[in-house]
Symmetry: C2
Subunit: 104 residues, 2 copies
């Protein structure tokens, strides 16, 4: 990848491909900002296991992006759509563009 | 899924997530229209193995769609973009919409 993609964005796109257990640990870390020890206690696994799972998740999410390039395509299309939106005068058309962006 | 998504479309979206071996067998079947026996000979595995791999690939591809819904989103956004394109008079804007659709 050309640059490091933000973790949150990778999770937004590919999170559903992780197991439920991985998702719980990833969200506890990335969204709830829990420490590794706190997650370990909550999930009833060792601190080292949490560390390894998070590392494996990050690797898996980056590999999904390398293979599918959804985020790269999303960024390019969002740019094009914003460009298009600026030229549209009809409120309905502009709303339609927003719907498209939301679902990219 | 509400309806059966076309195999080719599933492979277009999620094929890169299959292993290289799975991709070779899937393409031999779906694109080159080789028989199971022909693929078995080409890949140096049994006919039954080819059958099982193809079945496993179809299942994996459908599960990816269930989780990520890329094709459902693609279809909805393609519809919106075609609707938008019909209203555009500028040739450049219409070209831009085509670029977006190509990269969905």
């Amino acid at each position: 990848m050309e640059k490091i993609v933000e973790r949150g964005l990778l999770y937004d796109f590919y999170g559903p491909l992780l197991t439920e257990h991985q998702q719980a640990i990833y969200e506890a870390n990335a969204y709830d900002n829990l420490s590794l020890s706190e997650i370990a206690e909550q999930e009833n696994v060792s601190r080292q296991a949490v560390h390894d799972i998070l590392k494996r998740c990050d690797k898996a999410l980056m590999e999904y992006e390398e293979k599918l390039q959804l985020i790269a395509r999303f960024n390019r299309n969002r740019g094009r759509l914003k460009q298009l939106k600026e030229k549209l005068s009809s409120e309905d058309d502009r709303k339609l563009v927003d719907e498209i962006i939301d679902e990219l």
